[in-house]
C-alpha cells in the first residue's frame, strides 16, 4: 500500500472516530437531559455568562420544577457577541426558545412580531407573591422601576420583566491598599482622600521596580469612572439648560444647547470637569483608551493596579478570581464642600433604577402559560431573593434584601440628577471626542489642547447626530399612524376593550409629544448657523 493511501486511511479514521465520539457525547447529553414522562421543557436564553449567573438560573429552575413537577427549565447560554445573529436565526427559523433576554438585536418591530405583550398581566398581582407583602399589588408595581424599563413607548405595551439593577463602584485591593496607606486605613470617602491615595501610591512606587498603577483602565472601564467627574462638575450647568422645567434634559437637547452656544468646552463648569478628568485619568495606565476590558481586569487581578471601576455585574467574577480581599466603595467625587471643585456641584447622584436582564415570552413558545408562570416566579419577591442571593446582583423587586457582599452597590436614592458628560453626545460626536481624548491626558496644556482639537470637527458631528435623531423620531411618528388607524377602527367596530382604549390615548399622546419635540428640534437646528 502506498504511503499516501495509508495517510488517507488514517485521516478518514480520525474523522470517523471524531464523528462517533461527538455523536456519543451528544446522545449521552440528550439522554441525561431527557424530560420525564408528562413533563414539558421550557427553554430560556440569555447572554449573561458572568460567574454565578448560570448557577442562579439553575437554582430558580430547580425550585420552579419542585413547585411544578410537570415543567422543567433548560438554560441556553449564548455569548453576547453572537447573540443578535443567533436570535434572528432562531426567530425566523421558528425555533426560538420560550423565554428570551430582551435587548441585543430586538427592536420595536421584532418585539411586536415575536414577543407576547404583557399588559393583561401586569395590572394583576403576581400569583407567586402570595403570602408576601406584595400579595395584592399589581405585578407592575412590585418592580423598583414600576416596569418602566419593560415598556415600549412605540407599542404602548410591556414586553418583558427584569431580574436586577446595576450600579457602578470602585473596587480596591484591600491588602495592597493597606500596604500603601497603612494598616486598617479607611477607604477614601471624598475626593481629597482619593487624591491622597494617588500621592501615597506615588511614594510607594518610588522605591519599586514594578510600579503599581492606581486604577486599572480600558476603553470600557475608563469612561465608567471619568465620565462621572465631568457629570459631577456640570450638574448646575445642566439644570440651567432645563428649559422645560422638569429637572431633566434629554441628550438631543444638551447637544442642541451646545450648537446654540449655551455651553461649550471652555465653559467654566466643563473646563473644571475636564481638569478633573485629566487629574484622575493620569492615574490610569497610559493609553488606557486602547486597552480592552479584559486587560483592565488582568491588571487588577495581577495586583498591577490598586483599584478598578466596574459595575455590580462584575462583583462575583472579581471576588472569585482575585487572590486578595476586595473592598468596594462609591466613586469619591468632589462634594459641594470641596474648596477647589465644589462650586459647580449639587451633590451625590441619584442612581438610575432601570431594571436589566429582562425576559420576554416568544410568540413561538409552545408553552406560553408555563413561560409566563416562570417569568412571574423569577420576578416574585421569593424568586428574586433566591436569584440575588446566588448571583450577587441587585434585585429588581421591592422588599428583596440585598445580600451582604453587595451592600456597597445599593443604589443611592438620595441624590441629584447627573450633569452632562461625553455620553451626552450622539455616535458621531462621541467618535470625534474619542479620537482626540488622548490629548486630555498629555502633559502639556492638556485641557486647552483637547478643547482646541474638537473645534473643527465636533460641531458638524453633533449636527449629523441631531439630524439622525430627527429622522429616527419621524420614523416612529409615521409608524404610529398605522397603529392608531387600526386601534381606532377596532374601537369604531365595537371590537374594543379598556386596554385598546388605553392604547389609543397613550399612542395618540406619545405621537403628539414626539411630533412637537421633533419639529422644535428641527426648527431650532435650522436657526443655528452651520
Amino acid at each position: 500500500m502506498k504511503r499516501e493511501t495509508i495517510f488517507q486511511f488514517i485521516g478518514f479514521g480520525l474523522v470517523a472516530i471524531g464523528y462517533l465520539a461527538s455523536t456519543f457525547f451528544v446522545l449521552q447529553r440528550k439522554t441525561a437531559n431527557l424530560e420525564k414522562p408528562n413533563q414539558i421543557t421550557l427553554r430560556i436564553a440569555h447572554w449573561q455568562l458572568e460567574q454565578g449567573l448560570h448557577h442562579a438560573f439553575d437554582e430558580l429552575a430547580a425550585e420552579f420544577t419542585r413547585q411544578h413537577p410537570d415543567i422543567r427549565v433548560e438554560q441556553l447560554l449564548v455569548p453576547e457577541r453572537i447573540f443578535p445573529n443567533w436570535l434572528v436565526t432562531q426567530l425566523i427559523g421558528g425555533t426560538a426558545p420560550d423565554l428570551i433576554e430582551v435587548g441585543y438585536g430586538i427592536d420595536d418591530e421584532r418585539l411586536a412580531r415575536y414577543f407576547v405583550p404583557l399588559s393583561l398581566w401586569v395590572e394583576r398581582p403576581n400569583p407567586y407573591n402570595r403570602g408576601t407583602t406584595l400579595e395584592k399589588i399589581p405585578w407592575r408595581d412590585t418592580f423598583l422601576d414600576g416596569m418602566y424599563s419593560s415598556y415600549s413607548s412605540t407599542l404602548q405595551d410591556y414586553y418583558s420583566a427584569g431580574l436586577n439593577m446595576h450600579t457602578v463602584r470602585l473596587y480596591y485591593n484591600r491588602g495592597l491598599y493597606e500596604k500603601i496607606m497603612g494598616l486598617g486605613a479607611p477607604a477614601p470617602k471624598n475626593f481629597r482622600e482619593f487624591e491622597a491615595v494617588f500621592r501615597k501610591l506615588a511614594d510607594y512606587n518610588r522605591t519599586r521596580v514594578n510600579k503599581v498603577v492606581a486604577i486599572a483602565g480600558s476603553d470600557y472601564n475608563g469612561p465608567l469612572l471619568l465620565d462621572q467627574f465631568l457629570s459631577n462638575q456640570t450638574q448646575k450647568l445642566l439644570l440651567r439648560l432645563n428649559d422645560l422645567l422638569d429637572f431633566t434634559v434629554s441628550k438631543p437637547d444638551t447637544q442642541l444647547a451646545y450648537l446654540a452656544g449655551r455651553w461649550n468646552f471652555t465653559s467654566p463648569e466643563v473646563r473644571s470637569g475636564l481638569e478633573l478628568q485629566h487629574e484622575v485619568g493620569r492615574n490610569l495606565p497610559p493609553g488606557f483608551q486602547s486597552l480592552r476590558r479584559e486587560d483592565a481586569t488582568f491588571y487588577f487581578l495581577q495586583e498591577r493596579a490598586l483599584m478598578i471601576v466596574s459595575g455590580s455585574w462584575d462583583v462575583r467574577t472579581l471576588k472569585a478570581q482575585a487572590p486578595f480581599p476586595i473592598d468596594i466603595v462609591s466613586i469619591p467625587l468632589p462634594t459641594p464642600e470641596n474648596p477647589e471643585y465644589g462650586k459647580y456641584v449639587l451633590g451625590a447622584f441619584a442612581e438610575n433604577n432601570d431594571v436589566a436582564t429582562r425576559f420576554g415570552i416568544t410568540r413561538l413558545s409552545k408553552h406560553p402559560k408555563a413561560a409566563l408562570a416562570f417569568l412571574q416566579f423569577m420576578t416574585s419577591q421569593r424568586g428574586n431573593q433566591m436569584f440575588v442571593d446566588t448571583s450577587y446582583w441587585l434585585p429588581s423587586i421591592i422588599g428583596v434584601t440585598i445580600p451582604e457582599p453587595i451592600r456597597a452597590f445599593q443604589p443611592i436614592t438620595e441624590g441629584y440628577t447627573q450633569g452632562l458628560a461625553f455620553n451626552s453626545f450622539g455616535a458621531d460626536g462621541r467618535l470625534v471626542i474619542n479620537q482626540n481624548l488622548y490629548q486630555l491626558y498629555s502633559d502639556h496644556e492638556p485641557v486647552s489642547t483637547f478643547t482646541r482639537s474638537l473645534e473643527e470637527d465636533l460641531r458638524p458631528a453633533v449636527r449629523r447626530d441631531l439630524l439622525q435623531e430627527i429622522k429616527t423620531r419621524r420614523h416612529a411618528i409615521a409608524h404610529d399612524d398605522t397603529t392608531l388607524a387600526a386601534l381606532q377602527w377596532k374601537q369604531y367596530r365595537g371590537k374594543t376593550s379598556s386596554e385598546t382604549l388605553r392604547k389609543i390615548s397613550a399612542t395618540r399622546l406619545n405621537q403628539d409629544l414626539m411630533e412637537c419635540g421633533a419639529y422644535t428640534l428641527e426648527t431650532s437646528l435650522d436657526s443655528i448657523q452651520k
Partner: protein, 273 residues
C-alpha cells in the same frame, strides 16, 4: 411517467383549497387590523390584499386598510405613498361622511404632513381645517386640532410670530370636546408657551387642566407634575408648587428626580414658615 402539468395538479388543488379557506375566513380582516395595531404592517397588508382578492369583507374597509398600511409598508416608496393618496382620495370622493371617508381625510392630511419625502405642510393644514369644519366632533377632527397646534407653534421657524400663532391655535380650543384630545392639545400648547416664552400663567393653566383630565402616560405625567411645580414657583404661587411637588413625590417616590423635588419642597416650606 407523469407530465409536468400533472405534477403541478396537487399544488393547484392545494392553492385552491387555501384560497377558498381564506375566502371563507370571516375574521381575516379582523386579523389584518390586529396585525396593523401591532406594527406588523407587512402581515396586515398581505391579509388585506388577500381579503380584497377574495372579497372577504367590506370593500371600503379593506381598501382603507390597504391605504393606512401603504403609509408604512417597507421599503417606503414614492409609489406606495402615491397609491395610498389615490386610495384615500377615492374613498373620500365616493362617501366623505362615513367612518372610512372621514378617516381617509385625516390620513390624507397625515400623508402630506409626515409621509411624503417633501412634506406639504400648507396642504396638510388645509385638509385638517376641512376635517375640523366638516366633522368637528369626530375622533379624527379632535385629533387634528392638536396637529394644527403642533404645525403652527412648533413647525414654524423660531423667528416666526409665535404669539400670533398661539392666538390662532387658541381659537380652536372651544371645539375640543373629547377629554383626551383636549389633554393632548393642552400639553402641546403649554410646551410651546414654555419653549417660546409665551407666558408662564398660560402654560400653568393649560398644564393644570391637562393634569385634571388625566395624562395616560406615566412618564409624561411625572414631567407635568414637576413642570407645574416649577412654573408655579416661578410665578410665586408657592402653595400650588408644594401641592404638585408633593404629588410627584407620592406618585413617583423612586424617581431619580425625587430627591431634587424633596429639596425644593423643603426650601418652599422653610421659606413659608
Amino acid at each position: 411517467m407523469m407530465s409536468l402539468p400533472h405534477r403541478l395538479l396537487p399544488l393547484l388543488v392545494w392553492s385552491a383549497i387555501l384560497a377558498v379557506s381564506r375566502a371563507s375566513d370571516p375574521k381575516l380582516v379582523d386579523k389584518a387590523w390586529d396585525d396593523a395595531s401591532m406594527l406588523l404592517v407587512q402581515e396586515s397588508y398581505t391579509k388585506f390584499t388577500t381579503a380584497q382578492e377574495v372579497k372577504g369583507g367590506g370593500a371600503r374597509e379593506i381598501e382603507y386598510g390597504i391605504g393606512v398600511n401603504l403609509l408604512n409598508l417597507q421599503p417606503k416608496t414614492v409609489r406606495n405613498i402615491n397609491r395610498a393618496e389615490a386610495i384615500f382620495t377615492r374613498l373620500i370622493a365616493s362617501n366623505p361622511n362615513d367612518e372610512v371617508g372621514i378617516a381617509s381625510l385625516y390620513y390624507l392630511a397625515r400623508l402630506e404632513q409626515i409621509h411624503r419625502n417633501d412634506p406639504n405642510v400648507p396642504k396638510a393644514l388645509q385638509l385638517y381645517a376641512q376635517l375640523i369644519a366638516e366633522h368637528p366632533d369626530h375622533f379624527y377632527a379632535q385629533s387634528a386640532i392638536a396637529k394644527v397646534a403642533i404645525l403652527k407653534l412648533c413647525a414654524t421657524p423660531t423667528t416666526a410670530d409665535k404669539r400670533q400663532a398661539l392666538a390662532e391655535v387658541e381659537k380652536l380650543a372651544h371645539l375640543l370636546n373629547e377629554p383626551a384630545a383636549r389633554c393632548n392639545f393642552n400639553l402641546v400648547v403649554s410646551t410651546a408657551c414654555i419653549q417660546y416664552n409665551l407666558g408662564d400663567e398660560k402654560a400653568l393653566r393649560y398644564l393644570i387642566e391637562a393634569d385634571t383630565i388625566g395624562i395616560p402616560i406615566q412618564f409624561s405625567e411625572a414631567n407635568v407634575l414637576i413642570r407645574i411645580g416649577n412654573l408655579a414657583l416661578r410665578l410665586g404661587k408657592r402653595d400650588i408648587a408644594i401641592t404638585y411637588f408633593e404629588r410627584f413625590l407620592k406618585e413617583f417616590p423612586r424617581s431619580t428626580r425625587a430627591f431634587t423635588v424633596q429639596q425644593k419642597v423643603k426650601e418652599l416650606k422653610g421659606a413659608k414658615s
